[in-house]
Amino acid sequence: MDKQYSSCDEQLIYRYFDKDMDPEENARFQNHLGVCKTCSMQLEHLKNQAEALADRINEESEKADFYALEKKVLGEIRRKNRSFFNWKDVLFKKIYVPATVAVAMTVLVSFYYFYMPLYSPPSAIINSFTGEFSSVMILETPETKQTILWINEDESFNVENQSV
């Protein structure tokens, strides 16, 4: 007798039952089943188990209302189609496009009215400056951005001023 089957390996029974054997192995095991009552009974038990499970589930299937299931599922997809289509259409045509235009216009107008004035350039740009002075300050008024050149004349100019 083949050593492989001497202990009536359960795994082999399962593999045979699950058709997981090649033809040669399958034939050998079938021969073994012919002489081994234990393995035959095990196999029979597996078959009964599978049938019992199938019967049990069939029993439940017969109680299930598949017509209602089909109706419910088809109704749901029809409802989805309607709402999805409308939602998309409304959102795009009536909300998205006008909203984008409105936002763009608001941004442009705001930029023109608020940002541009805030960012007004100074009234005068000084290209060059030379002279006889002790110090000079270049300022800008905060509101109207008027340029201010503040010169501290050399002391020698002031001596003459006092006489005027």
Binding site: P121, S123, A124, I125, I126, N127, S128, F129, T130, G131, E132, F133, V136, L139, T141, P142, E143, T144, Q146, T147, I148, L149, W150, I151, N152, E153, F157, N158, E160, N161, V164
Partner: protein, 153 residues
């Protein structure tokens, strides 16, 4: 129905076009810049603001702490590009202005202030149309002189 005479219509159109283009042609031929020079005495000795200077007071008070602003002198010049203009200022000072060119919204002006042949300062600025530059600092009597130089073109 109103009947329009084509000849009259053409004539009116030409006249209107000429009027519209007149300033442009004038500027194109001889660009001139209107320059204003206001001389102001600012001091802290008293409290007085010349009514004509009220707008300037707010501007200056945002930077300085004077309590009195007196308009001493106001001159208006109309200078062509390259022509020199001079303004007599208190304390023997003389301001010389020469417009150099007009580019876009700004006119390039050369400003020179001197006193008895001594050059106080010499500057070249690009002044925006309908704007002013404030030049200040020279001591005079009990305050400081402020010159407001404006232009339009």
């Amino acid at each position: 129905m109103l009947r329009i005479n084509p000849c009259r219509a053409a004539f009116v159109f030409l006249v209107l076009t000429a009027i519209a283009l007149a300033p442009c042609t004038r500027a194109w031929a001889r660009p001139a810049i209107n320059i204003g020079v206001e001389t102001i005495l600012a001091s802290q000795k008293d409290r007085f603001v010349d009514p004509k200077l009220l707008p300037l007071k707010n501007e200056l008070n945002s930077v300085f702490r004077y309590t009195s602003y007196r308009l001493i002198n106001s001159r208006q010049l109309q200078l062509n590009i390259g022509r020199k203009g001079t303004v007599q200022l208190p304390g023997g000072r003389v301001l010389t202005i020469v417009p150099k060119n007009i580019k876009g919204k700004r006119a390039t002006l050369s400003l020179m202030m001197h006193k008895k042949k001594r050059n106080i300062f010499n500057t070249e600025i690009r002044l925006r149309n309908h704007s002013a530059i404030i030049v200040g600092g020279p001591k005079y009597k009990n305050g400081n002189l402020i010159f407001r130089i404006s232009n339009s073109f």
